[in-house]
Symmetry: C2
Subunit: 101 residues, 2 copies
Amino acid sequence: MVVEIAEIDVQAGHEADFESAVERALPLFHAAPGCHGVQVLRGVEQPSRYTLFIRWATLEDHTVGFRGSEAFTRWRALVSPHFAAPPRVQHARSVLGGDAH
Amino acid sequence: MVVEIAEIDVQAGHEADFESAVERALPLFHAAPGCHGVQVLRGVEQPSRYTLFIRWATLEDHTVGFRGSEAFTRWRALVSPHFAAPPRVQHARSVLGGDAH
């Protein structure tokens, strides 16, 4: 399992529209091979910054499968009009931790 | 619920020692009032970069309670010798999403 961490700064005033666009796009991820879930967080210190955590079975499910699919084109068409800058994307793997109480 | 997102670049060659230090420090978080779990991810593109997701009941449980506690001093004593730079910390709240399949 690999986690895609995507940091997206949206244009000021576009926050509600961006969230609606992401909500409409969620089925694209839910239907994508290897996608195990999307979590969307909004910044406290920077409320126009969103962090998306998207869990993939393998790195290639994201970088090859999803990015090469029609679903990626539709995803970007929905959300990119609200971007203030290109998203910063990295991948990471869980090494430690879990729930506490 | 608020998520602390801490990005920590460690010194090259210190990865194993950093992970051991974090593991030893986990009980400090598990015992901290309002802390609901710690997840530690290691970067794929940048293997000396770690991202910690720490869930807190409230922002102040982290910024006031934990940072003002003896546990924070012990946490930093364990991990800071491995830092390549000061951690970048932000907070965020979940707005959308969940598990897929």
